[in-house]
Symmetry: C2
Subunit: 702 residues, 2 copies
């Protein structure tokens, strides 16, 4: 879809027309033209205004129809009621791209939403790459384009940033100015009538001027498209996203256990994990990662060196490190040897390296240099507290560090603890385009995130397989249930679907009489379970419809009669098909729950966890979006906290993980094959060291 939109016309236009340009300072139509001039734009700017003749020194065009054919970019700042008409005129002259800054569309509902719908259709039909409406505009620092009404110009850098919130856009810009963080592109997406974050990601994947993509998201209109595009970028450059609305879920009435647990935010988290997007958990983490990724080289391994002039912060940094995947290896004997000649005796020749409160510039420089050059380390954190010596030598220490950082291929993060007097150093680091931290924890977390990104980049591409299954057979069962208007596929029919997917089930047979039940039990082998079979009876236990441990044919016969008679009495409305005779679950099985729920944006979201209290009380569950890769099937299992219970504790055998992964891949395939299935629970799925058994299954329809 995005292939048909000309995003080059949008990001690197040769001609820009501003529809609603104004000579009056303070007006959006004035600010946009001014920003474009201030950015040093070298193409042609055409202010469009029916009344003026000159705006900010530029000759004005009165009518859109007078604009050049095949115009690259039109920016609209006119009142909302005129926008649709202007867009029609712009389409008539063959405009390639447009930005509607004006608000008052979908976000206000009613007539506004209707206008937006028509604009969307118009642009889609005519391949107009439209940004907005209701946005702040767009900046391309690499082409001197700034068509926003945000005050001030950002700095040039290598971060491309997109935002689904115009207000956040201004915050990010202002923060970046203060921290001297620069951008390549900056785009405010607004209502996303046509272009959304997927198109932007697609464009940025191969943008040579962008090293890092940062984004603020509130929602994704087309989750699967987003995932496809994101996957293509993350292998090339890091994508860091902060998403609001974690708690917004408010689970609606759900047909399944999975449905009641899985919220929209779980789908986003899964999408980020499965595409390699780095999710920042807060705005402060977002900003920390922005400076870390854009200003420092990546750590190629997990070993962190900490150099400090104060013991306490060194220990605090060690504490923080222990919560991450980073490791604090000890320096090599050669490094210690070298430092013994330079550092005072009371320095601690280990990691964290405490060089003492009176460490002056030469000591700082020597310690950091030797530690960073030690092959043991992949990254370094340099802590400074403003002791009287450190304060006296502050500029020299800082300059020494800057020199080292600028020539090192490893990330070296300064963490200078204080505010007033250390501000000189902060400014020097900012001017030298080096990340700066006040506290150890965010610095260490940033290094960890960078290292995890390196691991992701080095990991193999995912493997997708399509399990063999009898699609026709499954389709038959589902089609019949849909035809009957069923809300749920009754268990004994769901069993047919599982068989079609060659899923491990307990041996079972539908018996329609007491004698058939006894015969089925003989075939399966005693003891057996007997369950009432009726499309109308979903909660079998409510009618005493489940009996376990039936030890012989007589017991089966008697129970069949008892159960069917009771069910008929208690539920005269129900049509009773008979009873399902089922194999008993072997001893020593673990109880798992696997399920899926169809997310509006991302499609089927799979859930996995240990059954019973682990899901209900401990909420120890993990999620992935279907289709699952082999790696996803592996990771969704490993992610739960109680994973160790599956691997076997106290001398128990491990469960058969291969069998479990196989079930997960088949459930994933089922979810992908049949969009009619809205929710599913395999609860419990029993598993031991040999095999798995879907002991109960629930499939819900729309």
């Amino acid at each position: 879809m995005s292939a048909s939109y000309d995003l080059n016309a949008l990001f690197t236009p040769n001609v820009v027309a501003v529809i609603g340009a104004s000579a009056k300072p303070g007006k959006i139509g004035n600010t946009v033209v001014q920003n474009l001039i201030d950015a040093g734009y070298e193409g042609k700017i055409i202010p469009v205004n029916p009344k003026s003749t000159e705006i900010l020194g530029l000759p004005v065009t009165h009518n859109i129809s007078e604009l050049p054919q095949g115009l690259d970019l039109a920016v609209l700042t006119i009142p909302s009621k005129f926008v649709l008409g202007s867009m029609e005129e712009l389409v008539a002259i063959g405009v390639k791209s447009a930005i509607i800054i004006t608000a008052g569309f979908k976000e206000v509902g009613g007539e506004g939403a209707e206008m937006e719908k028509q604009i969307k259709e118009l642009c889609e039909k005519n391949n107009v790459a439209l940004v907005g409406p209701n946005c702040l505009g767009l900046i391309n620092m690499n082409h001197n384009v700034n068509v926003t009404f945000a005050p001030g110009q950002p700095l040039l850098g290598r971060i491309a940033c997109f935002s689904q919130s115009g207000a956040l856009f201004t915050s990010i810009l202002d923060w970046a100015l203060g921290e001297k963080v620069g951008f390549s592109k900056f785009i405010s997406l607004g209502n996303e009538a046509v272009l959304n974050e997927s198109h932007v990601l697609d464009y940025l994947a191969d943008d040579p001027d962008t090293n890092v993509v940062m984004g603020y998201m509130e929602n994704s209109i087309d989750g699967q498209k987003f995932m496809e595009k994101a996957k293509a970028v993350t292998r090339k450059k890091p994508v860091v996203v902060v998403k609001s609305g974690v708690s917004s879920a408010g689970a609606k009435a759900a047909a399944s256990h999975t449905g009641s647990i899985a919220g929209a935010d779980n789908a986003y988290s899964a999408a980020f994990k499965q595409t390699g997007i780095i999710r920042a958990e807060s705005m402060s983490e977002f900003f920390d990662l922005a400076q870390a990724f854009s200003k420092a080289p990546l750590p190629l391994g997990p070993n962190l060196a900490i150099i400090t002039n104060a013991g306490g912060p060194g220990i605090m940094a060690t504490d923080a490190c222990e919560k991450t995947v980073l490791q604090m290896a000890q320096p090599s004997p050669e490094t210690i040897e070298k430092l013994r000649t330079t550092l005072p005796d009371y320095a601690s020749f280990r990691n964290p390296m405490d060089i003492g409160g009176d460490a002056a510039a030469p000591i700082y420089k020597a310690a950091v240099k030797e530690m960073v050059e030690d092959k043991v380390y992949d990254a370094a954190l340099v802590i400074l507290t403003p002791t009287s010596t450190a304060f006296k030598d502050l500029e020299e220490i800082t300059q020494g560090l800057i020199d080292l950082i600028k020539t090192s291929k490893k990330p070296i993060f300064p963490c200078f603890m204080g505010k007033e007097r250390i501000s000189v150093a902060e400014q020097m680091f900012r001017d030298a385009d080096i990340p700066f931290f006040t506290f150890p924890e965010p610095a260490i977390n940033s290094i960890e995130t960078m290292y995890k990104y390196v691991e992701f980049k080095n990991s193999e591409e995912q493997h997708y397989i399509t399990p063999e299954r009898d699609l026709d057979k499954a389709r038959e069962v589902i089609a019949e249930a849909v035809k009957n208007g069923d809300k749920e596929i009754v268990e004994y029919k769901a069993q047919e679907i599982l068989k079609a997917y060659d899923m491990p089930v307990l041996a079972s047979e539908l018996a329609t009489s007491a004698d058939e039940a006894a015969a089925a039990a003989e075939k399966i082998g005693f003891p057996v379970v007997l369950k009432i079979a009726s499309e109308q009876i979903s909660h079998k236990s409510d009618v005493g419809g489940v009996k376990v441990g039936l030890a012989d044919a007589d017991a089966v016969r008697a129970t069949y009669t008892e159960v069917t008679e009771r069910a008929a009495k208690m539920r005269p409305d129900a049509e009773i098909s008979g009873c399902l005779i089922q194999e008993m679950v072997p001893k020593g099985c673990k109880e798992l729950i696997i399920g899926f729920k169809r997310d509006a944006q991302f499609g089927p979201l799979l859930m996995f966890g240990l059954g019973g209290i682990y899901v209900e009380i401990l909420k120890d569950i993990s999620f992935r979006l279907a289709p699952l890769s082999k790696e996803d099937a592996h990771n969704i299992i490993k992610e739960i906290k109680t994973y160790k219970l599956l691997a076997g504790v106290r001398g128990e055998k491990s469960i058969n993980f291969e069998a479990l992964e196989d079930v997960l891949l088949k459930v994933s395939q089922l979810a992908v094959d049949f969009p009619e299935l809205t929710e599913a629970d395999f609860n419990p799925l029993m598993i031991n060291s040999e095999r798995a058994f879907a002991a109960d299954v629930r499939l819900a329809l729309e």
Copy 2:
């Protein structure tokens, strides 16, 4: 102990002598005198130096012996080798307090440590209130005292701060200067030869100039004293502590399960909880809380109002709020009614209240005013993103907020997201002595901590009871084991101790022959458990020494013979006392673990958790220091994540919590009564809805 030290002489001296004062700028002995002058000290300053005649305009005294008798405070900056001698001379003139800034004592070991020991003894004997050695000094802003060598003067405020690290002291001072946070007292504790954080807490409890106590700690020499003093302060004013060394535990070889899990940091955490100290988890949280507690009123309830000019940050703040105990109630109908007349239609008349990206100063002021005045709310967070309107009105919005904040009795925290252009507002808030935040999360966490402190202050004082027990009987068993040089009290003897404490045990009897075993079993009632009884056999299962479910007298007889014979064969070294015949654990019991370990600083640390995988895999455990109050016994149970399992899930009955609290209080008492017991495990302690049973017990001796 601290009653004998004159801390008034230390904090509010009328005469200060600086031993080692120097005329040479840059020397510590010069900086200290200069700082004291710069602080505006109104008492008498006496520089002591054998050679100079005038230092910084002050006449110099050549010898300590010439100083006035009963000198209030001596500050020593002379080389370490002269310190002990000078202290002796100071004692001779009856000095009341001293600060040894000089380093080179306990922290370097050897001779330095020996000198410190002698100084400590000298001061303790002569009641000299000594701070240090190896410290930065002390500041009392309320008496214009600054005898530190830290550069610059802090601002006057209502925070008293102590630090066990001199380097961190400089960081905190520098941060505070930058953030315009002021202090009442500031003390660097150094090696704590005589005075430590307990003395300081004791002094600050009733200091009328101090509203908040902040501290940086690395360790507490006398944990129980610290707890006693802390408890006296926290009910009067908040005490916020950041402690490094969370990961430093490195559990040593431990005799018990509890011993292997409980680290030193668990003891600190328990001590903080039990005394009401607020533990900051990072330096950034420490600083956030410093400004929050010192500059804002406390929230009297949990209801937070959020007002924002951008939807996304409003949602992010809501997300953050959901992780806390704070609640986001909706505004009252009256508030909505009033705001309908002022706010634009597109504002969201709910909480979070989104007043729109083009909200100007009057809108901001009206929205915040009405929300804060609504009785529903106890606190407010005001978010601003620098949209063009907000930026244009920035100073007016800020001033409006300052006016509201200054007259409100509720905490109202501004959170202005950005850096460069919002710095004007930041400066205005700082100048007005109002806490300022850049991100919603830390602001919300600070409000939560303040609210929790209010809850703590409103909570009842703890109740301590001493359970009845037969101390003599228990003492007899323990004394015998100590006399024998046992490392552990063998189970059948430990049972005697449990009986002495009236702890719920399984009925058990020691049998010394097969017939006695059968008779004991008849008395207890079948089925029974049989366990080998030998002081030398600690791991009974290793010799097949535990048999359960013995159903009749014959089985008991046969098993007795079998078990004792096998044990004798496998452990010829062991003296076999017979077998313990024990009641079977009733069905439906939950398995718990209770234990304690003696912490070097804090004494007995109790551990509680659900047994088996919950402790081993999920690490779901909680800690408290003995003696436990009734409230502690209640809270240690409620704190574990699996608490709900005890309260009963899926229709199960709740366990008998009263019985469990009773056991906890008795274990606590046992730990307090017998310092000889170094570690203990009640593992498992079985419990059902009726009663508890200590099914196995392990008591370790030194």
